[in-house]
């Protein structure tokens, strides 16, 4: 991952709001991040932290209404995806940006063969004819480790197991050689031994194809094994961002620190009691004016109530490039 390289994706100040009957929900609040070529960015957070909504906002995958991307800039190369309009965005989706969803059963169409679903983006975006597309689809299935690829093109999604379906999803996402692959909890619905297979596959594909990947998950274990950099989200905001080793070795945000303590380990000391983060994650009904984590935070003080902390660098590297945290408190004292 060359440090000086221009980012493939540069997101600034993204705000997404859902308008519901009960009022507005501010799901994403001023999220900024960048993705360098070939990099794997892990995005961690609990349900409702805004991690999926952020990524779906980028490429216009949220139904509007109720969703509304209210502010921000999403630069893919030299184009702002929030400005180019729905037609141009269709050319980006599937071609420049691939998407793998959590549940491969609901994201594949049950009435079309797997082959036709892999061929669709090839014909739509790459201008291939059927024969070319079929040839490429066979290659893709073989690439993601499906044996007997030629024959399996004619099979329907229900004829595949969960792990195999996720491989098909990855094949579709990779079909047009995208610059960015967004994987939203791609292994959450799978068993651990199958999850290990998919993770090995993705590591292998990264080496072969070199695309940049955004990997959304709630599993810190998965992140530790594959990510280059990690972004922790809470209450629709980025609360901490750092290279993976630094985040695990020296977490700065009280939420990250508590999260790392609350999961029991497979090895090492077995604690008598699990550390608990008391309370519930917030529902952001208004634009936050205070720190979203303050109610559950062990270190909260007056300033956390008065002012929503901005991301600040932990050392002399700039925010977004090194280790940064959105917190008024610091482990060394305020």
């Amino acid at each position: 991952m060359p440090d000086g390289a221009l980012p493939v994706l540069d997101v600034r100040g993204l705000k997404t709001v859902f308008r519901t009957r009960g009022g507005e929900v501010h799901a994403v609040n001023s999220v900024s991040f960048m993705l360098r070529p070939g990099e794997l960015l892990g995005v961690v957070g609990e349900s409702g932290s805004g991690k999926s909504v952020t990524m779906m906002s980028l490429i216009g995958l949220l139904p509007s209404p109720p969703a509304e991307v209210r502010a921000g800039q999403v630069m893919l190369g030299d184009r702002d995806l929030l400005k180019i309009g729905p037609r141009a965005l269709q050319d980006v989706r599937g071609a420049k940006v691939g998407f793998v969803f959590q549940d491969p059963m609901t994201s594949l169409n049950p009435v079309f063969t797997v082959g036709s679903q892999i061929m669709e983006p090839l014909m739509r975006h790459m201008g291939m004819n059927r024969a070319e597309a079929r040839k490429r689809a066979t290659e893709l299935l073989a690439l993601v480790g499906i044996p007997d690829a030629q024959k399996r093109l004619k099979a329907y999604p229900h004829q595949f197991s969960g792990g195999m379906r996720q491989r098909v999803m990855i094949a579709i996402a990779l079909a047009c050689d995208p610059d960015v692959l967004i994987a939203d909890e791609p292994t959450t619905a799978l068993d651990v031994t199958i999850q290990a297979q998919i993770i090995e596959l993705v590591k292998d594909l990264r080496q072969k194809l070199g695309m940049a990947i955004i990997w959304i998950t709630h599993d810190l274990g998965v992140i530790a094994g594959i990510a280059d950099r990690v972004m922790v989200m809470y209450g629709g905001q980025v609360v901490e961002q750092a290279p993976v080793a630094e985040l695990f070795a020296d977490p700065r945000h009280p939420y990250t620190r508590a999260l790392l303590k609350t999961i029991p380990s497979l090895t090492g000391e077995r604690g008598a009691r699990l550390q608990v983060i008391e309370g519930q994650p917030p529902i952001m009904t208004a634009e936050p004016v205070a720190c979203p984590f303050r109610a559950r935070c062990a270190h909260a003080f007056a300033r956390c109530e008065a002012e929503n902390p901005q991301r600040r660098a932990v050392d002399d590297r700039p925010v977004g490039l090194g280790h940064d945290v959105a917190c008024h408190w610091s482990p060394e004292g305020v």
Partner: protein
């Protein structure tokens, strides 16, 4: 399993749960899914037995057959001195208060049209002739025990978060003072930060009320935290049953080894150097399990005998039971 001095609270012997498959125009019986195929274990009073395995391995079916939510095809399930598998309906009904269940999905297992008080007191309505006042007292007491505010007694399940709903399910399970509770993936639907709250609650209750748990889960690190002994299931059978610390320090069965090595750990330094055993292929169908050992199609250590002869679960070290020919009587030194 037989040498422990106190009597086990739960004693399961050769439990089988086969579901018929009907096919063809006349819906003839065409075969059966052997969801659970010969499972034996004991649970001591006050103990937590972890039951782990991947989806489809039969772990939830074991839990349900234990409480006779399914009638087992064969085998015995002795809970507190009575064989639940063969009890008459009337005797079974009388037995129910001693054994209860906490379900995975608190959304689906709570009636959305009943208030919290009605949900928690339903077992009391069924099994006691208490007055309304006495029942409400008991409901309040249970709500205190699981950490729900008494003021919420007249609210409906949708007004609560996932973690709180799981507390409602736990309160309901506790209503009749059971001895034995089957927890079927009680934290799988919850967020990481909420999981710890529920697990701590279950542990507190166990200590205070002397409960015995069967804790069914696919989360191996959480099972390491909560269980005293752990049974690893694969395709309807127990592959290994060991005390917790032994299993996690040195798993014996090749499947247990692969399963533990597949769990990602939140430690990038360790993850970078860790050697994973990557199993190839998928789990075979329980309607058509392979001959011999049921793990022989994916086992990295498979040899000829595994494809012919089914290994029995046998004690290979003190307190450690493994079903694998690697530890068979012909080569006792292996492993």
């Amino acid at each position: 399993m037989l040498d422990a001095s106190p009597l086990p609270l739960v004693r399961v012997r050769d439990l089988k749960m086969h579901f018929p498959i009907y096919a063809g125009l006349l819906r003839r019986r065409a075969g059966e899914v052997k969801a659970v195929d010969g499972v034996s274990f004991d649970i001591m009073p006050g103990e937590t037995l972890g039951l782990v395995g991947e989806s489809g391995c039969g772990k939830s079916t074991v839990g349900r057959a234990l409480l006779r939510l399914y009638t087992p095809t064969a085998g015995s399930v002795v809970i507190d001195g009575e064989d639940v598998a063969t009890l008459s309906p009337e005797a079974l009904r009388k037995k129910r208060p001693t054994m209860q269940m906490v379900f995975q999905d608190p959304q689906a297992s709570l009636n959305p049209r009943m208030t919290l008080a009605a949900i928690i007191s339903e077992p009391l309505d069924e099994h006691t002739d208490w007055s309304g006042e006495r029942k409400l007292d008991r409901v309040h007491e249970l709500m205190d025990q699981v950490g729900l505010n008494r003021a919420f007694a007249n609210r409906y399940p949708h007004e609560f978060s996932g973690g709180q709903r799981q507390r409602i399910g736990i309160a309901r399970a506790l209503a009749l003072n059971p001895k034995f509770i089957v927890c079927d993936e009680p934290i799988a639907a919850l967020d990481v930060s909420i999981q710890a709250q529920v697990v701590n609650l279950l542990e507190d209750l166990q200590e205070r009320l002397g409960l015995t748990y069967l804790f069914i889960s696919h989360d191996l690190s959480m099972v390491r935290h909560i269980a005293d002994r752990v049974a690893v299931m694969y395709l309807g059978q127990i592959a290994e049953l060991s005390p917790r610390d032994d299993l996690y320090a040195r798993p014996l069965h090749p499947y247990a080894q692969a399963l533990l090595s597949a769990v990602p750990e939140p430690d990038p330094v360790r993850e970078a150097t860790r050697k994973r055993i990557i199993l190839t292929g998928d789990v075979p169908s329980p309607a058509n399990p392979p001959a011999g050992c049921n793990f022989c199609t994916r086992c990295p250590k498979v040899f000829d005998r595994c494809r012919v002869e089914e290994p029995r679960l046998a004690e290979v070290e003190a307190g450690r039971f493994v079903a694998c020919h690697l530890y068979g009587d012909t080569n006792k030194t292996a492993g």
